[in-house]
């Protein structure tokens, strides 16, 4: 139950983060100069980076992705990687939905089918138990000690 709650919040944070980042970067990119040459590519990249740091949407997106990563790592402190990783793949489905509703992206037939297959896969994985390893690893006591 704890795992489900943490992962659901993580996935929503990730999807929202991606929407904010995409919106932010799209508004930055359209205002950047675009022409050829290595120096202009470098200066354009710096220009985009500077503009990106002034965008509240990009800050919000970055923050949400950090929240995602913190929750993902937290879940890994008690659940299997082979459980958590495929479970978070449901985020792809949310990203397709969010892209459709908030960014007006079109949903192709392949994406619909992919979303259904992912959902099915996540249902399978969620029925396989979240932890198969023993609670205490032999190296834990000493490693946790010298980590302080």
């Amino acid at each position: 139950m704890k795992t489900a709650a943490v992962l659901i919040i993580a996935i929503f944070a990730q999807a929202a983060g991606n929407v904010f980042l995409t919106r932010g970067m799209k508004s930055v990119a359209t205002t950047a100069p675009a022409d050829g040459g290595l120096m202009s590519v470098v200066s354009q990249s710096l220009h985009v980076a500077l503009q990106a740091m002034q965008s509240p949407e990009i800050w919000a997106g970055t923050l949400l992705l950090i929240v995602f990563f913190a929750l993902y790592s937290a879940a890994l402190s008690w659940a299997d990687l082979s459980f958590v990783l495929p479970a978070t793949a449901f985020g792809y489905v949310l990203n397709v939905a969010a892209g459709h509703y908030f960014l007006n992206e079109e949903v192709t037939k392949a994406r619909w089918i992919g979303s259904i297959i992912i959902t099915l896969g996540v249902v399978f994985v969620s029925r396989s138990g979240e932890r198969t390893t023993t609670t205490v690893e032999p190296a834990q006591a000493s490693a946790a000690g010298d980590g302080q």
Binding site: D80, S82, L85, I118
Partner: protein
Amino acid sequence: MMTALMIALVVLGGSIGDVLITKGMKQVGEIATLNGRELLRIAGRALTNKWFLFGLFFMAVSFFSFLAVLSWADLSLVLPATSVSFVITTIGAKLILKEKISSVRWAGIVLVCIGVALISLP
């Protein structure tokens, strides 16, 4: 050839990173508190755990390889190809972290892998 190598680096870097981060977090121990100060202490313990930091490093390698390969290859080739990392990471979890992958879990992971590849097609 170069593209295949870079995609391998993206996939392997991500998988190794995930396995190491899991190893680190298992050493940090199960998080069973919502107390803010306690959570900060746990975050500090994770960020000073060598496996966790190695994991972050490999994740960064994977991410920058991803950006690099996108500078010459198509996203519609690279993104579906990286979906194989669900299977590679699971093999790593089985061999290194000793997780037991039941056939139901394998079936789910293969479905996720196929679905992600389909979703990332143009």
